[in-house]
């Protein structure tokens, strides 16, 4: 297995290197390095957007969430896919027509303010770090699970982190956005075909979607949980111990062999199957019903976070700047909605198939992967796709799924590094430190910024307290990615939408919206983390627990702030707003470019592609 995984991983790396090398000559100017010359076709861009967007959280995490939680797990995929609709309706076309390099660029030009640029840079970098950290953790974890071998004296986890960071630096620097686009498109199709193959093999093995759902939903949902023996044997108010509840749903043979020998040691930890409670109504959770993960408030908060947050993710927004025109940016987004819907349907089906088919296959003796199986169920649901692949298609299919997993991480990490480098290189160096820098120096600084961010990402990946986080958040990758979405949905998107569609938005309103939305979100996320980590200060312990994601509070607050403060500050509407409006909503420039392109005229001095 390790040999197959290693070979397929090396194949993914080699193909990315070849593509980057082929694109190297077209990464010598800023518009080429950052934006592929703004000449990416709609379908290629849509494939690249999907590659950029689908991280390990999507490839492994959504199937894992459906495996563990049924209907509540489906909502992660639905939210990820639905997030592109607001992006299409409100931001894709005007932002592309405005024609800058980054989101901070847009805010600076819209409000003629470097303060707006700097606040946006800060938010972009926070989002990138929140997004990068789980990707690096995912890289290390996937390498550890699927390759299982360290290099140069490092353990497998550290090897995964270092190899991924180093590879992404090479690919991004050599190929720029052009190489990244081709790589991301190829990687998207690699992971989609891997997912489709797993689903096809499942149906070929007799999997029936409706029958599996019926069988899985015929009793209470049970999942593996880690318990200290002392707590496992402590009776609740009804006089029933968790051990008795666990034993009622586990096979006697497994209990006697794996659990009973530890029950004499109160400090020992055991992993048992436990019936899950519904958070929506009293009683047990059921696989095909909502309530395992979310209360109604949490559900609404998750949907709002994922749906609103997509439009402000810097690596996704940057991809829309690569479209030649506004209408093509719209068409790209329609393709993205279609492709994401298909992808998440496949992921959902794989999760259900995994739950239905793996209990028999996942017996300890029959599993070559180093997965933890508890009485037929996986202790870590994110491992369901590789396990299913190995069970149904052997080493070859497993190898292809490994390629898909690494493709998912490479494409997202590359996009994030490029977005972060653009923010540092373009928004900070070019605007504040050396506005007169020649083109070659600007591109060089962008590449250095990319290396620096890759080092930061690597340091985060290596220093991340994985064990502590995994104990509190079993699906840590998906959870941390949703934090990045929450900051985007609260700090950037409300101000972005209002400023694109309301002339009355002022600088003070925008700053108030970004600071209030982003700040509130960060504070509430920190409070939730402190609560989970049981490090909440005493004076705050009595406060009611909010939804798991704070967007339900922070995003409306940001909208309110930008409207109210702009209204209060209405005498200071930027004087050049008509000019901005011509760029955002007029089409003269792209019509002129289209006319020239049809005639075979590429450029004229003073007429750069926007």
């Amino acid at each position: 297995m390790q040999a197959t995984a290693l070979v397929t991983t090396l194949l993914v790396l080699a193909s990315a290197l070849v593509i980057s090398w082929a694109a190297r000559r077209r990464a010598s100017t800023r518009v080429e390095f950052y934006l592929a010359g703004r000449t990416v076709s709609a379908f290629l861009n849509a494939s690249a957007v999907c590659g950029d967007y689908f991280s390990a959280a999507s490839f492994l995490g959504v199937a894992g969430a459906v495996y563990a939680s049924g209907l509540d797990g489906v909502w992660f995929g639905v939210g990820f896919a639905g997030g592109f609709v607001p992006l299409l309706l409100f931001t894709a076309s005007p932002l592309r027509r405005f024609g800058e390099y980054t989101l901070p660029d847009y805010f600076a030009a819209r409000f003629e303010s470097n303060a707006a640029r700097l606040v946006a840079v800060a938010l972009v970098q926070i989002i990138v770090v929140f997004y990068l950290a789980p990707q690096m953790v995912g890289a290390g974890t996937v390498w550890e699970l699927l390759v299982g071998r360290g290099l140069l004296g490092m353990n497998p986890y550290a090897t995964g982190v270092v190899v991924t960071a180093a590879s992404m630096v090479i690919f991004s620097i050599v190929g720029g956005m052009r190489g990244m686009t081709w790589n991301q498109a190829l990687q998207f199709w690699t992971m989609t075909s891997a997912m489709a193959l797993v689903v096809a093999f499942a149906f070929a093995a007799g999997f029936s979607y409706t029958r599996a759902l019926r069988d899985l939903s015929s009793g209470p949902l049970v999942n593996p949980e880690r318990w200290r023996v002392a707590e496992l044997q402590r009776p609740d108010a009804a006089g029933v111990t968790p051990a008795e509840r666990a034993r009622a749903v586990m096979s006697p043979a497994y209990w006697e062999r794996h659990i009973a020998p530890h029950l004499d040691n109160p400090e020992a930890e055991v992993v048992v199957l436990m019936p899950q409670s519904s958070r929506l109504q009293p009683g047990p959770a059921v696989y095909n019903q909502p309530g395992h993960l979310y209360t109604a408030l949490d559900h609404a908060s998750l949907l709002l976070t994922l749906i609103l947050g997509t439009a402000g993710l810097p690596h996704v927004v940057m991809r829309f700047y690569t479209s030649p025109t506004g209408p093509l940016a719209r068409r790209s987004t329609v393709y993205v909605v279609l492709l994401t819907s298909v992808f998440y349907w496949l992921a959902t089906t794989a999760g259900i198939a995994g739950r239905a088919l793996t209990p028999q296959a996942a017996k300890p003796d029959g599993v070559a992967l180093p997965v933890q199986v508890v009485d037929g169920l996986l202790a870590h649901p994110d491992q369901v796709l590789p396990l299913l692949a190995q069970t149904l298609g052997g080493a070859v299919l497993l190898g292809y799924v490994v390629a898909g997993a690494f493709a998912a991480m490479f494409s997202t990490i590359g996009g994030l590094l490029l977005a972060s480098a653009a923010s540092w290189g373009h928004d900070v160096f070019e605007r504040f430190l050396r506005p007169d820098a020649p083109e070659r120096l600007r591109v060089l600084v962008a590449k250095l910024a990319l290396v620096a961010m890759a080092l930061v990402a690597m340091a985060i990946g290596l220093a991340f307290p994985r064990a502590e986080f995994l104990r509190e958040f079993p699906a840590v990758i998906a959870r941390m990615v949703s934090w990045a979405f929450a900051i985007s949905a609260s700090g950037l998107v409300p101000v972005l939408i209002v400023s694109l569609w309301w002339r009355g938005a002022t600088l003070r309103g925008a700053l108030a919206g970004m600071v209030a939305g982003g700040g509130t979100c960060l504070v509430l996320l920190a409070a939730n983390l402190l609560r989970v980590g049981k490090a909440f200060p005493d004076w705050m312990a009595g406060l009611p627990a909010g939804p798991a994601l704070p967007t339900l509070v922070s995003a409306p607050l940001a909208f309110l702030c930008v409207f109210l403060v702009s209204w209060w500050d209405r005498k200071n509407v930027p004087v050049h707003v008509d000019e901005v409006w011509m760029r955002l909503h007029g089409t003269a420039r792209e019509r002129q470019e289209r006319l020239l392109r049809r005639a075979g005229v590429q450029s004229q001095p003073g007429w750069e592609p926007l």
């Binding site: 639905v78 639905g82 299409l88 759902l213 349907w345 005639a599």
Partner: protein
């Protein structure tokens, strides 16, 4: 040829851009409200109508499960395609004039003043 092309200047007036902006905003907000209502309906139905998520209609498929896995993604695709076509058509219909040297402003695709 190139220099001749550069003499044709596509242009928009502020009034035209304002008109298309308002029309586009109406279109976006209309589609956005529809999207918001349908999206918000899903968690509301879970709480307000228990049969929505407990009644099996085909095997283990409940209406809530069908909505989440098939109907809602389908709704998003149709909404996105519908919006994109209408928004692009609106841009084409409301904007698109060129100025040529020595001739009056003309609307693309229509005869200019002085044409036979």
């Amino acid at each position: 040829m190139e220099s001749l092309l550069w003499n044709y200047a596509e242009f928009d007036t502020p009034e035209e851009v304002d008109a298309v902006f308002r029309a586009q905003r109406r279109l976006s907000i209309g589609h956005g409200l529809l999207f918001l209502v349908v999206t918000a309906l899903l968690p509301v139905l879970h709480v307000a109508w228990p049969a929505w998520s407990t009644t099996a209609v085909w095997g283990g498929l409940t209406p809530a499960f069908i909505a989440a896995t098939v109907l809602y993604p389908l709704f998003c695709i149709i909404l996105a395609a519908s919006y994109s076509m209408r928004a692009n058509r609106m841009d084409e219909d409301l904007l698109g004039r060129v100025q040529t040297p020595g001739r009056a402003w003309e609307v693309a695709g229509e005869p200019a003043q002085g044409d036979p």
